[in-house]
């Protein structure tokens, strides 16, 4: 499978990664190579096979509904890039 640079641009946008035009070709060819490897999967007939998302056949355990987490805002926000009045800050979002 060969990707086009336009595909890579779209993927990079979906993944929110800034990719400069210079390295776009490089990514395009590297990703295409990997996709070629991945497409070996097409050799396998998988009709009727149930997809397996987890290695073990276990089911979800449930937690009792109780509040046990203390307020650790100061500790958590000590490592935040931009905090004011207890709020995390980002460039203004226009809705």
């Amino acid at each position: 499978m060969t990707l086009k640079t336009e595909d890579v641009r779209n993927i990079a946008h979906l993944a929110r990664l800034q990719i400069d035009d210079d390295s776009l070709d490089q990514y395009t060819s590297a990703l295409s190579d990997i996709l070629t490897l991945v497409e070996q999967m097409n050799e396998v007939d998988t009709s009727g096979i149930r997809p397996m998302a987890h290695p073990l056949d276990a089911t979800q355990r449930l937690r009792e509904d109780a509040v046990t987490e203390p307020n650790l805002r100061d500790k958590f926000q000590a490592i935040a890039p931009d905090v004011e009045k207890g709020l995390y800050r980002v460039p203004k979002v226009i809705e």
Partner: protein, 482 residues
């Protein structure tokens, strides 16, 4: 400086040395050799000495536990409260974790001493440890060669005698492959055996933590502390943890060892093959029955793995967005700029490649062809093993197709790098436990024998490895440190 954990335990118990003394010895060795090997990202000297001092007091008061005062290194993928946890990434260069991973808590509860945090491929993505923001790690056997990855720092630290043992994580071979290339012993437990809480995720359905040590006996000791149910991890399994040490001495006469023919096919280096054959002969001598088996879908494990692991990682790494922690770009002009530049600057090339590929595999129109197809073949791979374990107790083969390669050899060719994981990856897809133990040398470099066990059969794996180590001395060989 090449003591095993059990030797350190005995030495501390017999008061041959104190925890402060042995810790200081390791810290001195680290100072001397880490610049060349670069296996540590952070050395927590003050903390280590403080913990050692407290441990010595416990020992003096007669309240020592199994690991009291034993120095260890931890892969920098495990969150450590108050200590920088970088995951090998610029993204987390400023990240001082506000909590401990469960396994770190477990080791703390046993009063072990933390020497530092070991180097690794960024976000555990790599097979050579060349993808770290903190520089490459050298293989202690040959500084021009890779130590393997992603837990390259941990494997190299143990091989170089800069830690008696270390923790690691294994998503596609990241414990077993570096253990093999550095000539140490490592075990990846069954998925769900060791808590993933506080372990920074790469591929959530594949990641599993485990120990590196010189011996299987030491691995048993460390796994005892790491393993067990954790209510904070939904994928942790409620299953009692057996005493791994008591079964080490069991006789393995009659043990059925399966050799998958696909693991000895094209692509396996001849030197590695002959070392593995000798190791198998050793097992024959120990009374094991050797049976040829087939794991027909082995070849597909690589494409399947890269789809599953990369799909999961593309989503797992979305939280690194420059908002609440981690790297943030300078003066973002708007939200999109904040996201795109912070992530582009914070992540290295391999991580970006993988995020993009995973994003693509999950995107509209491709999900069925990639993600769903991979999950279907994943089941076939698991079924291959289920069939095999009806006939045999343990599966054996090479851990890697070749010995440690030269630094830079494969960096331009991701696909050839990915092929290094051909024998290790399918276990992660199936969730099975596996070990790598030193089995000899080829071209003067260590060769690892991989042992694969059935689900939750770590005790038998450790026993099988220990019996080999009782009759061989490959595991006690150490590189010459200049």
């Amino acid at each position: 400086m090449n003591k095993t954990i059990s030797q350190i335990q005995q030495g501390l118990a017999k008061k041959e040395f104190s925890s402060v003394e042995i810790t200081q010895d390791y810290l001195t060795a680290i100072k001397q050799h880490n610049p060349a090997i670069n296996c540590y990202i952070s050395v927590t000297e003050d903390l280590a000495l403080q913990q050692a001092k407290a441990a010595d007091q416990r020992i003096a008061s007669g309240n020592a536990q199994a690991l009291t005062g034993v120095p260890l290194a931890h892969k920098d993928v495990f969150c450590t409260d108050g200590v920088k946890t970088s995951c090998g990434s610029k993204m987390l260069d400023n990240f001082v974790a506000p909590y401990d991973a469960t396994i770190i808590e477990n080791f703390k509860a046993e009063d072990s001493v933390m020497l530092g945090k070991t180097n690794m491929d960024e976000f555990a993505m790599g097979s050579s440890n060349e993808n770290s923001y903190y520089g490459i790690v050298a293989n202690p056997w040959d500084n021009e060669r890779v130590p393997g990855g992603s837990s390259g720092g941990s494997a190299a630290a143990v091989a170089a005698g800069l830690a008696p043992a270390a923790t690691g994580t294994d998503t596609g071979g990241s414990i077993r492959q570096p253990a093999a290339l550095c000539g140490v012993t490592g075990i990846k437990p069954t998925y769900g055996r060791v808590s993933r809480y506080g372990m920074i995720a790469f591929g959530s359905s594949l990641d599993q933590g485990g120990p590196f040590a010189r011996t299987a006996e030491d691995c048993a000791i460390l796994l005892q502390t790491m393993a067990g149910f954790d209510q904070r991890d939904s994928t942790s399994i409620v299953q009692p943890v057996p005493d791994y040490s008591t079964s080490l001495g069991n006789n393995i006469k009659g043990l059925k060892i399966g050799l998958p023919k696909e693991y000895f096919a094209e692509g396996l280096d001849a030197g590695v093959a002959s070392v593995i054959e000798s190791a198998i002969d050793e097992y024959r001598k120990l009374g094991a029955e050797i049976i040829e088996i087939s794991l027909p879908n082995t070849k597909f494990s690589i494409p399947v793995y890269y789809v599953v692991a990369l799909a999961e990682c593309s989503s797992n790494l979305s939280r690194f967005d420059g908002v609440r922690f981690g790297h943030r770009c300078d003066s973002p002009v708007d939200l999109e700029d904040l996201y795109k530049r912070s992530r582009a600057e914070g992540f290295g090339e391999e991580v970006k490649r993988r995020i993009m590929l995973g994003t693509y595999a999950l995107s509209a129109g491709y999900y069925d062809a990639y993600y769903l197809k991979a999950q279907q073949i994943r089941r076939l791979i698991k079924q291959d093993f289920e069939q095999a374990f009806k006939k045999v107790d343990v599966i054996a083969g090479p851990t890697t197709p070749e010995v440690a390669f030269k630094l830079g050899d494969k960096t331009d060719d991701p696909v050839s790098m990915y092929l290094q994981d051909i024998y290790t990856i399918s276990l992660n897809l199936a969730g099975l436990p596996g070990m790598s133990i030193p089995a000899g040398f080829s071209q003067g470099l260590p060769v690892g024998l991989q042992l694969i066990g059935n689900y939750f059969d770590e005790a038998r794996l450790l026993n099988t490895a220990h019996q080999f180590q009782l009759s061989s001395d490959w595991h006690i060989q150490t590189p010459e440190m200049k």
